[in-house]
Subunit: 175 residues, 2 copies
């Protein structure tokens, strides 16, 4: 989440594509709207399938509060200062499997202190400094216990056929 | 690996920090030297501990060939076009546990075609487009089966104490 600090477009694009590839339904980017970024992500969805959506919201605080008012939402903030993933993922997975919706907040150093209090869980993907992109990937991978590798992305125009030595891409014609 | 294409410094920094936090020994960045990048990574090592090293090499082809000449090296290229991780990680893990050194190549769209042939394994972290940063994290996590969460980083000046609600950082004095 951006918070009066310049968002790095490339990093935000990586976050969005990881969210999609690892099984999230939607990304909400807070702060100033960037139509180029939205366009890039939508193009990936159009080409590679699935129903991942992307939107901007000016105010990160409202986004979190509205989600919490739904009373079915659990807010998870990924931060190197939180509880280490292996110590808490079981509890979060149970909530999720029990039908709770999860909102996962990433933003690295740009996250304001208030988020630590608004989050139901502050979760560390190792207590070392690294990358919100990697943190999101590892969280979603552990949450789903690797099931994201079996995700299907319907209505794709292109599909990769795994190849040990090069690139094989299937172009799917729709009539 | 950069290859006559502008490297994104922020993305390369994320790759380096993920490599360190998830247990790699060293990162070799190919292409043009960037002292600022080296400095940033070394500062993280100095502050947060461990012995992770970073260096530049102009020529990516030489780096790979020299590594392969050692005859104890296995070259793994992470690409969305490769064999999906769950189908190949067991074989790679066995090689690694058997004493082989692994070189992991990431670089996204910038990787020249020749790398697909030089690599012993082209591995896909899902066959969807996303991020070399996430790909590296997930590969190292699956390789070590989560053991990277128990890594120790000796000689740290700062250490995080996991905190469910805020930031707790231990400053370690050395006499």
């Amino acid at each position: 989440m951006g918070h009066r600090i310049q968002r790095d477009k490339r990093v935000t694009t990586h976050v969005a594509l990881v969210a999609r590839a690892y099984g999230a339904d939607e990304i909400i980017i807070t702060g100033d709207r960037d139509d180029g970024l939205i366009e890039r992500v939508r193009k990936v969805v159009e080409t590679w399938g699935g129903s991942f959506s992307v939107r901007f919201e000016k105010n990160w605080r409202k986004v979190i509060k509205r989600f919490k008012e739904g009373e079915n939402g659990v807010v998870i903030h990924l931060t190197m200062y939180g509880i280490n993933l292996p110590d808490i993922i079981g509890e979060i997975r149970d909530l999720w499997r029990g039908g709770k919706d999860l909102m996962i907040i990433v933003g690295g150093e740009k996250v304001p202190g208030e988020v630590y209090g608004l989050a139901d869980y502050n979760v560390a993907i190792t207590n070392q400094p690294h990358s919100e992109i990697a943190a999101l990937a590892t969280f979603l991978d552990w949450l789903q216990e690797g099931r994201e590798f079996r995700l299907e992305f319907p209505n794709a125009k292109l599909r990769v056929i795994p190849n040990p030595r090069g690139k094989t891409v299937l172009r799917i014609r729709r009539d």
